[in-house]
Amino acid sequence: CKKSFVDVTPQGQFLSDFYYANQDQAYSALIAVYDPLRKNAGGFENMLALMNSGSDDHYTGGGGATDGTQLQAFSNYTMTSNLMASSYWNDPYQGIFRANVLLKKLPGVPMDDNLKARFGAESKALRAFYYFNLVRMFKNVPLLLEPLNTSNMYQVEQAKPEDVYAQIEKDLTDAIGVLPTTVASSTESGRFTKGAAKALLGKVYLYEKKNAQAAQQLADVNGPTPGATSSYGYKLLANFSDLWVVTNKFNSESILEETHSAAGNSDWGFWGSGRDEGNTVNVMVGPRSYERIDASAPDLPSGWSFMVFTQDFFNFIKNDPRKDATLLDLNVLQTAGKIKYIAGYMNTGYFLNKFLPRKPDVSKGGGASELNYRQNTYIIRLADTYLMEAEALGGTGARAQALLDAVRARVGLTSVPVSMAAIKNERRAELAGEGHRWFDLVRWGDAPAVLGSRGFVAGKHEVFPIPFRELQGTKLQQNKDYN
């Protein structure tokens, strides 16, 4: 009697022993595995903000030199293990932990077998994605395929990068065999498909320099005829600028898309947590204290002036047909007296138009309107896989030429002879501001030359420092030259 008196059962939550009891609960657990995918553009510490900051196309910007210290430190290559925002390490591992728990529990869940297999495949594809981000950012990471417990959590050691890559390949290969080709667009879009897993696997092979395998996977995604609809239903959008229309979610060019919603009524108190469903990049890239004076100027909500383009990038893109969709030149408007705004840190006046919100995009619901933008972002889109396949093919041959031509033709550009240099240029112009540039430069080995003036040191800055906490009392070793 006494014992029962002091026993209190959790309310509104479940004891882990009793969860994973049916299909609905397995599905909720799967959603939690998807949750960290939102890191691409969700929360202040998002992937786009970090990866753009370190590339030659952008400055971190913001309000001042200490606004977003970890971003600034990556931008000028003064990153240390203390400055490395730990969420870039922790969040993928949270996804991995949840995938590991679900994969362990799934066999015992009484539910439809096909769905069970699909949930397992999605968990593996997501785990592969999280490990891919970890290994290409931090290189030397622990490879965990089972949830840890309090007794063994300090015994973990870092795996060899090739072992991590091998696991990623295995997870994706397993997943590809099970994942559906298409999903119900109204309720399921955003979930992993066979095409998404193949595109990711192709990209992984490319980073491993397994070019033949990369080209093979990417060819399946891209289809036999570049520019035509592929067997998975992918096709380039006719208008480049349509890619950035907020309502144009899950279009035919989208392969793996990260999702956002205004309905989360996100607020500062849980900004960046699992409950925050808004896109933060939108407010980050906006000009500070923006004021429209002339009706011909765009009607922008104010933002925080992050990720402004460099003058060098402007010079590169200024004659490209993608310029206007990519970049908003506020210098012209300001000089013409059509607008006013306050210059942020290292302001160039060139704002990242792909993610610049417009006044009608501002949420009218609850929470902080700055945190409730709903634009999705592409993790992988077709133009990217076209150019990756061309790169995997070594930048030569008819197929590579056709892939490159298709990307250029869509924006009205004429063919140029295919070469690695042409592909590099095309990627820079096509994918500007989408978080790929820094990884591209490192993969090509061009980073020391391009980023040297920023402070990039070859042999050190290709990987990030492991966050300080991870080294406390653990068996983990810091990455080279960061001690």
Binding site: P10, F14, S16, G64, G95, F97, V141, S261, A263, G264
Partner: protein, 1018 residues
């Protein structure tokens, strides 16, 4: 069966003695006289002797009168204090047989002190109890530590408050009205606190409210009115000084002058003037009635308090109304039924950030540039960006409040900020009460059942307009929020007491059982957005707002349950040899299956040496008692289900092209079924003495050890859980000395009383299970990161940073600061920069933790207080001084990441050239040396202070005059609260509470008040 004796105790001139003790000799039975000097006591038999005692008066022993009523006059000087009744939890004892370290504060010490909260009244009055008001906002709570830091957790260090047998959390103590309090006892050592087992590790504060006394109806009124203002304002730069400093800083950083002609800027805006209220009013009315007959007594009171804040008056004030009904009834000779019920309604309006560097009126007033005008009167500016195109706030004349273009981020014009917060308030209704039935079964056995409860309702409401205070401080929509919460705590306790005396063996045995449930309830909150109004005056929930613009949340509390069995034996032989033993077993819902129950034993011994026949009857040491004890107590102030990994929602993701959010569920943390009790053991050795008739002395030495401290641990991120699990991770020790002194003597018409207390405390962490032998501290500051660290061998949360070794006066000194390889230690340094000590001796200064060291603790080593009471004929004077010494304060008033933030005038003593100063570095926009951005001893100041907390002059009208209006007493008084403070500290106020003491981010300072009051008694 019992005989009831009533009576009145008065002094030499017939004045009633309030708080005199009447006890039955040789037993634990005792009573205290009320406001009129009246008492009621149960006497076991006709042969018993009554002992009447009062501070500063000689004891009297009387036999039981035939008619059961007594009138006693005491003569001055005699036994002091030792016969006072002390509440010990589930019973009382006379002080002379108490074996634990218990400090007691009686009604007579409190009743003249104007105060809004009981913690402030207790401050400086009890040795071993450190109290720091969290901030000066009216109605704000205090941080209380009994014998130092017991544990690491945030709420874990707060003592257990027990009001008339009901456990009341500290946040809820604000409902108490000071005049209703009969006594406050602090159980400091484990030997006395163990009777509250589970939750007693941090000390127990027992509050007993007043009971009615049989006899004449007594009516009391006490009221006061006062004016408050800030003790001190900061010396900040004026506009000319500011421009000069900013120019110098810019030029030193390689830039150009920012301001062409600083002198032309004049004095500029004094932002502090814009928010400080020098005429903040406060008043209080308290009224009580008490009386009864032999069967029933009652005490009834009503109080009303109102206090206006000294900062941002319109959004900083507090009112409280309270009501109390206490009564006891006797029936069928053996039963006593009683109840104590208090109700209060509190309404508080707060300015938000009371100790934060992130905006709000105080932080903005400190950091804003003095150049920006308070109000824009120039129409050309007012009609241009940003004033013309944004919902800026305007003053009553229609002019917009100035917006700084130099200082941004969270800082905003405080006068405008105040306008955006108008009409916002928080409220609470608390009902705290207990009822009991007591049965006296025969001479020796007493059975008591009690039911106690605390029912609370609280919430808040406020309209936030659509506003633009700066580019960063703004809203895009207005909103109106209302929240409602409720909680119920209840407990049932049954005790059986057996008291007997056989020959000279006196003993009391207590057996008890208790069941406790807390946090039954929940809350909800609704916010409407985009209301079609602009002023809080029009805000209403009746507006028809579309569903998309309604946000609501709701939650349930998690119950906390305890089940307990306890026993206590009090024994003494002829009042010479004393023993107390306590055993309590508690089960708590907060622990895992493997360690759900804890057992907490304690014992203590005492020896009244002066009762021995061999004790010489000298005139120096009249009485002497030695005592000592040891006990173990627990602490379960951790979060619920800390031992479990629960699967919870909130790991959501958006799927589908309709932006539908799906809730994801995942395990939050890792299981820890072995989570066990945190235990605090304490050894206490004490001495009580009465010297030269008039002087009492209490000295206690204690060693308090806490083991298995519970705390969420930051585990490696690769584990992948989103919430840190709780674990037993550290041990800590506090050693100290508490001294209490009393002196009472009359010199003709002049009476003098002095009460003084002094404590010494040393806190040390003795073990940390974390992998690095330290825990990153709980306090952090802006870009510095953590500024404290908890490490073995150091005080809990000690300040941790760089150590400066003066300032490089010239390049030669920089060049001379080399390591053994001949490399410069600080190659980036320039003359005027700090020289940092190479703590780890590796020949380089690195901005990680390797060159940081421990720089001091914010826990005061010494705490003291003393009260001097003097009276001459009808006049009385009281002076109360309180203070602490031996602590450090982190002076973090200035925002480091806002380059143009204003400075205190001490910046004028910065380094400007060789030989100018060795303390304050040069100013530059390129602080490569980290002079200002490094945590270092530069930011630490002594937190020692002595505060004249209270000075009161009173005049009591002669009885003859008073009797004409049928009153028994009429007294007028003038009081000054916080008259002045002696300190070297350069911030507003050295008294800074909080989870980590002594971190000043611009704390709301305490008020200095001047008060006039009247006390009337019928």
């Amino acid at each position: 069966q019992d005989i009831v004796v009533t009576g009145k105790v008065s002094g030499k001139t017939g004045e009633p003695l309030i708080g005199a003790t009447v006890s039955v000799k040789g037993t634990n039975e005792a009573a205290t006289t009320d406001h009129s000097g009246n008492f009621t006591i149960h006497v076991p038999n006709r042969k018993a002797l009554l002992v009447i005692s009062y501070v500063g008066m000689a004891n009297k022993e009387l036999s039981i009168p035939e008619n059961g009523t007594l009138s006693v006059q005491l003569d001055e000087v005699g036994a002091v204090g030792l016969d006072e009744v002390v509440v010990i939890g589930y019973g009382t004892q006379t002080k002379k047989v108490v074996t634990g370290a218990i400090s007691s504060v009686k009604a007579k010490d409190l009743e003249n002190v104007p105060s809004n909260r009981i913690e402030q009244t207790l401050q400086g009055r009890v040795a071993g109890v450190t109290i720091a008001q969290n901030n000066g906002q009216p109605g704000s709570a205090s941080t209380i530590r009994v014998r130092g830091m017991t544990t690491f957790g945030e709420g874990g260090n707060n003592p257990l408050w027990v009001v008339d047998n009901v456990v009341v959390d500290q946040g809820g103590i604000g409902y108490l009205n000071q005049s209703d309090i009969e006594s406050i006892e602090v159980l400091k050592d484990a030997a006395s606190a163990a009777i509250y087992g589970t939750r007693a590790a941090t000390g127990v504060i027992l509050v007993t409210t007043k009971k009615g006394k049989s006899g004449k109806l007594s009516v009391n009124y006490n009221g006061f009115y006062g004016i408050s203002r800030a003790n001190k304002k900061l010396d900040l730069l004026n506009a000319t000084q500011y421009a000069t400093i900013i120019n110098e800083k810019s030029v030193n950083g390689g830039g150009a002058n920012v301001f062409a002609d600083p002198a032309a800027l004049g004095a500029g805006t004094d932002w502090q003037d814009a928010i400080f209220n020098d005429k903040a009013s406060r008043f209080s009315h308290e009224m009580s009635l008490s009386g009864g007959n032999e069967r029933s007594t009652f005490y009834l009171s009503f109080g009303y308090q109102d206090q206006e804040g000294i900062v941002a008056g319109p959004i900083s004030n507090y009112t409280r109304k309270n009501l109390r009904i206490n009564s006891t009834h006797k029936f069928l000779d053996i039963f006593t039924f009683g109840e104590n019920v208090g109700y209060s309604h509190q309404k508080s309006v707060g300015l938000g950030n009371t100790n934060s560097e992130f905006g709000g009126p105080l932080s903005s007033a400190i950091n804003l540039d003095p150049i920006t005008p308070l109000v824009i009167t120039d129409p050309a500016i007012a009609n241009a960006n940003p004033y013309s195109n944004n919902p800026v706030i305007k003053d009553p004349n229609g002019n917009p409040y100035g917006i700084s273009s130099l200082v941004g981020q969270e800082m905003s014009n405080p006068a405008a900020y105040i306008q955006t917060k108008l009409g916002q308030y928080g409220w609470s209704d608390d009902f705290v009460g207990s009822t009991y039935l007591e049965a006296a079964l025969g001479k020796h056995i007493k059975l008591r059942s009690s039911l106690g409860g605390k029912l609370s309702y609280w919430g808040g409401q406020g309209f936030t307009p659509y506003y633009y205070l700066s580019a960063t401080v703004k809203t895009s929509q207005n909103n109106f929020n209302k929240s409602n919460n409720n909680s119920l705590n209840w407990n049932v306790e049954n005790t059986l007491t057996y008291t007997n005396s056989i020959d000279k063996h006196n003993f009391t045995v207590l057996l008890g059982q208790g069941s406790y449930v807390e946090n039954i309830g929940g809350g909800s909150s609704v916010t409407l957005f985009n209301l079609p109004i602009t002023s809080y005056k029009d805000a209403s929930f009746n507006f028809d707002i579309p569903q998309a613009n309604r946000n609501s949340t709701s939650s349930d509390l998690t119950q906390h349950k305890l089940s307990s069995l306890f026993t206590r034996v009090n024994y003494n032989y002829d009042e010479k040899y004393l023993f107390t033993g306590i055993l309590r077993r508690d089960g708590s819902s907060r622990f895992g299956l493997n360690h759900k129950y804890g057992v907490f034993p304690s014992f203590s011994l005492g020896w009244n040496v002066s009762n021995e026949a061999f004790w010489p009857g000298n005139q120096v040491v009249d009485r002497l008692k030695l005592r000592g004890g040891y006990g173990v107590v627990g602490n379960d102030a951790i979060r619920d289900f800390g031992y479990l990994s629960v699967v919870s929602g909130g790991f959501n993701y958006t799927l589908g092209n309709a932006d539908n959010i799906t809730t994801g569920y995942a395990p939050q943390s890792l299981d820890n079924p072995d989570l066990r009790w945190e235990e605090t053991s304490q050894t206490n050795i004490g001495l009580e003495a009465q010297l030269i008739k008039s002087l009492t002395l209490n000295v206690d030495y204690f060693i308090k050890k806490t083991s298995g401290i519970l705390r969420p641990v930051t585990i490696p991120g690769y584990v992948g859980v989103s919430t840190s699990p709780v674990a037993n991770i550290a041990d800590m020790e506090n050693r100290g000395i508490d001294v209490e002194l009393g002196y009472h003597k009359s010199f003709g018409d002049f009476n003098l009383g002095v009460n003084a207390n002094f404590s010494y405390l040393k806190n040390k962490v003795t073990y940390v299970a974390s992998d690095a032998d330290f825990i990153t501290g709980d306090a952090s500051f802006q870009t510095m990161g953590a500024i404290t660290r908890t490490q073995k061998g150091q005080s809990y949360n000690s300040f941790f940073g760089f150590q400066t070794a003066g300032i490089f006066q010239n390049q030669a000194e920089i060049d001379a600061y080399k390591n053994k390889n001949g490399d410069l230690m600080q190659p980036k340094a320039k003359p005027g920069d700090f020289k940092w000590v190479d703590i780890n001796g590796d020949g380089k200064i690195t901005n990680d933790n390797l060159d940081k060291t421990f720089l001091g603790s914010s826990i005061p080593k010494y705490t003291y207080g003393f009260t001097v009471n003097g009276s001459y004929k009808d006049f009385d004077l009281m002076v109360f001084v309180q203070g602490t010494a031996g602590s450090k304060i982190f002076q973090g008033l200035r925002r480091l990441d806002i380059g143009n933030a204003n400075y205190q005038t001490k910046v004028l003593g910065r380094w400007t050239g060789e030989g100018s100063t060795n303390d304050y570095p040069r100013l530059t926009t390129k602080d490569d040396n980290g002079n200002f951005t490094n945590m270092s001893n530069f930011y630490l100041e002594s937190g020692s202070y002595a505060r004249v907390k209270l000075v009161q002059l009173g005049y009591t009208l002669p009885s003859k005059l008073v009797n004409r209006i049928k009153a028994s007493r009429l007294r007028f008084y003038l009081t000054s609260e916080n008259l002045f403070t002696i300190t070297k500290y350069t911030g507003y106020d050295p008294e800074i509470g909080g989870a980590v003491l002594g971190v000043d981010r611009g704390v709301y300072p305490q008020a200095r008040s001047f008060i006039g009051g009247v006390q009337l008694q019928f």
